[in-house]
């Protein structure tokens, strides 16, 4: 039996660099202008998985992502860096899922991949920003959870030792396997693409992507079945649809406000002695300082 690691990864809009061009005239964010990227901490998660694979010949790293068809991009990206294969969970019925419904769907997919040793995810996705999917998936799978991992210092068939990064320090814990780990951004950065793997996997496609290709891939795929990225729908997961999507999500978004970067009524002063002295006087008089 191989040592199987399932890495959970999400494709996200790059919310970190909301530059001028990503802002609309009304001061709100133009989401369409944001590039779709591999969620940063999921790359850290992938790296921790690949480090185990570096040590153990019997190790197999599987990428699991839930999202629209284009999310297959990050599965390929993971393959270029060393993942063995990937599955895309995709179905319209998943749309609008909150973290509870998302972790339900992910946990069903993980169960299809039994027996596994580790489920490794990022701590937090930069769009939803909740950091809830990791612990919730662990609970649904009845796994012990080790959050905020920075390093996996020991791995055996039966247990792992993990260094965790907490707000005020570090903790080293030992857990039996199988277990769920969420990875902190202070973990090592992910290795770059490997040229050989890029060549090997550049034609990897999902069924949906293949249907949209003009070239005929039948022969290539007969020779190289590993190029096939499987898609899993609600039916494949035997999921209870009432626990998915909007209806399966206990949290409802009542209102969304775009943060408008408005100008506040602000006084502009120079660095002259007079301006600064007047300002300091105002602050003292109004007891803001003093």
């Amino acid at each position: 039996m191989s040592f199987r690691i399932i890495v959970l990864a999400k494709q996200v809009p790059d919310t970190r660099n909301v530059g001028k061009d990503a802002m609309k005239a009304d001061g709100t964010v133009n989401r369409a202008a944001l590039p779709a990227i591999f969620n940063p901490e999921d790359l850290n998660a992938l790296e921790l998985a690949l480090r185990i694979k570096d040590q153990r010949k019997d190790c197999e790293v599987i990428i699991l992502t839930m999202g629209p068809f284009r999310a297959a991009e990050i599965i390929r990206e993971a393959m270029y860096r060393g993942a063995d294969r990937g599955y895309l969970i995709t179905d319209r019925k998943f749309a609008g899922s909150d973290t509870l419904a998302t972790s339900y769907a992910i946990s069903l997919a993980v169960r299809k991949l039994e027996p596994y040793h580790l489920v490794i995810s990022g701590r937090q996705a930069i769009d939803g920003d909740t950091a809830q999917v990791g612990p919730q998936t662990a609970e649904k799978l009845s796994l012990p959870q080790i959050t905020y991992a920075e390093e996996i210092t020991e791995v055996s068939e039966k247990h792992i030792v993990v260094k965790r990064r907490l707000e005020r320090g570090i903790e080293v814990v030992k857990s039996p396997l199988p277990a769920a780990v969420t990875v902190h951004s202070s973990a090592p950065a992910c290795r770059q693409r490997v040229a050989k793997l890029l060549m090997k996997y550049k034609h990897a496609r999902t069924v949906t992507e293949l249907q949209n290709e003009t070239k005929d891939y039948t022969e290539l795929y007969d020779q190289r079945p590993y190029l096939q990225i499987d898609e899993w729908t609600v039916d494949d997961l035997h999921a209870d649809v009432t626990m998915l999507g909007l209806s399966g999500s206990p949290t409802k978004v009542k209102k969304i406000e775009n943060v408008v970067f408005a100008h506040k009524d602000s006084k502009v002063l120079s660095a002259s002695d007079e301006d600064i002295n007047n300002l300091m006087k105002d602050l003292i008089d109004s007891h803001v300082i003093g």
């Binding site: 509870l100 909740t130 005020r168 002695d273 300082i289």
Partner: protein
């Protein structure tokens, strides 16, 4: 309606963490508005007279689970105990700190209860909701207001159907307020050894290095924050000089921390601490959205920047166009000469 519960965290010194006292203060106000009780949960070891620390915040009932296996925090036993309490008490609302502990624990519990959980709320309010689809009216829901999408949107989230309505809130977001130093509630002891099973202890801590938090900028009334524009560690000393005379604390942007001008404990923003001082003086800080997320609730903001168009100026009450090396010594000079 049932009661409001706050999960209380312990510090290394086994006192109730500030974030939990802040949440008790908020919980008290919500409980009063809804006409229900405020209940606290404390799980740990050596918790003798721990209730004395929470009652002044208006706690009506405190559930205490005291067992030497329960400190330091580990996920599974704390989750089992909180679930045990929730099964019996059926809370209306449950609030956790958005801390290393709270963000580990709350989602596990929400998943087990199949309840909605809103992360990192910046505001909690009571309000009604009308669901058009089902023509159902919901009274007195918890509005859970949170930024998402890298701070670029603010969402109001509700959990109409599931209970408890669960939320996490970061340290420093709510105000810590003693309700009445003599307030007295009731202590309910939880028999931990009857609830816990061996499996709850399958994850073992084998090493731990925690620092007691020394630097505390969170509760400062006045903060002098420096950014990359301060230019050097030596120039950062100017900020300490100003902080000394004003009785303020020094904060920093991430770029200043990354450049080695300041310690990480001082970082303000999305990945640092959230502050809400009376006065925030931003020195050589451009005002990226991740930085503003941690300081835009400040009552007054002064920006000192060489660039008149720096985004921080848009949220500042006063903008001084100039270099910090020029402006800060002038501020110190005036203050020394004119304050009592």
């Amino acid at each position: 309606m049932n009661n409001i519960f706050v999960y209380c965290e312990l510090t290394e010194e086994k006192t109730i963490a500030d974030v939990s006292l802040e949440l008790l203060s908020k919980g008290r106000r919500l409980a009063t508005e809804l006409g229900v009780k405020l209940e606290a949960i404390v799980i740990g070891s050596d918790l003798k007279r721990i209730e004395d620390q929470v009652f002044p915040f208006g706690v009506d009932v405190v559930h205490v689970a005291d067992d030497n296996r329960l400190f330091p925090y580990t996920t599974l036993p704390h989750a089992s105990l909180v679930l045990h309490i929730f099964h019996h008490e059926k809370p209306e609302i449950a609030i956790f700190g958005a801390t290393s502990i709270g963000r580990d624990l709350a989602p596990r519990i929400a998943s087990a209860l199949r309840c909605g959980l809103t992360a990192d709320c910046t505001s909690l309010e009571i309000g009604d909701h009308f669901e058009n689809k089902t023509q159902t009216e919901y009274k007195n829901l918890l509005y859970q207001i949170r930024p998402a999408f890298g701070g670029n949107i603010i969402a109001t989230i509700i959990n109409p159907e599931t209970r408890p309505q669960m939320a996490t809130v970061r340290e420093g977001v709510m105000k810590k307020e003693v309700l009445d130093p003599k307030y007295k509630g009731q202590v309910k002891k939880v028999n931990a050894s009857a609830v816990l099973r061996d499996e709850d202890f399958m994850v073992q801590i084998i090493e731990r290095h925690m620092e007691a938090s020394k630097i505390n900028i969170k509760n400062a009334q006045v903060i002098i924050a420096g950014g990359y524009g301060v230019g050097s560690r030596e120039n950062f000393q100017l900020l300490y000089d100003l902080a000394d005379v004003l009785g303020a604390q020094v904060g920093a942007s991430r770029a200043a921390v990354d450049a080695g001008f300041s310690e990480h404990e001082r970082q303000i923003g999305q990945t640092g601490v959230t502050v809400r001082p009376k006065l925030y003086i931003a020195c050589g800080i451009s005002g990226a959205v991740q930085h503003r997320a941690g300081m835009d609730q400040s009552a007054q903001i002064i920006s000192i920047n060489t660039d008149p168009n720096a985004p921080i100026n848009h949220i500042a009450d006063y903008t001084i166009i100039g270099s910090i090396t020029d402006v800060i010594p002038k501020m110190i000079r005036y203050y020394k000469a004119n304050s009592k």
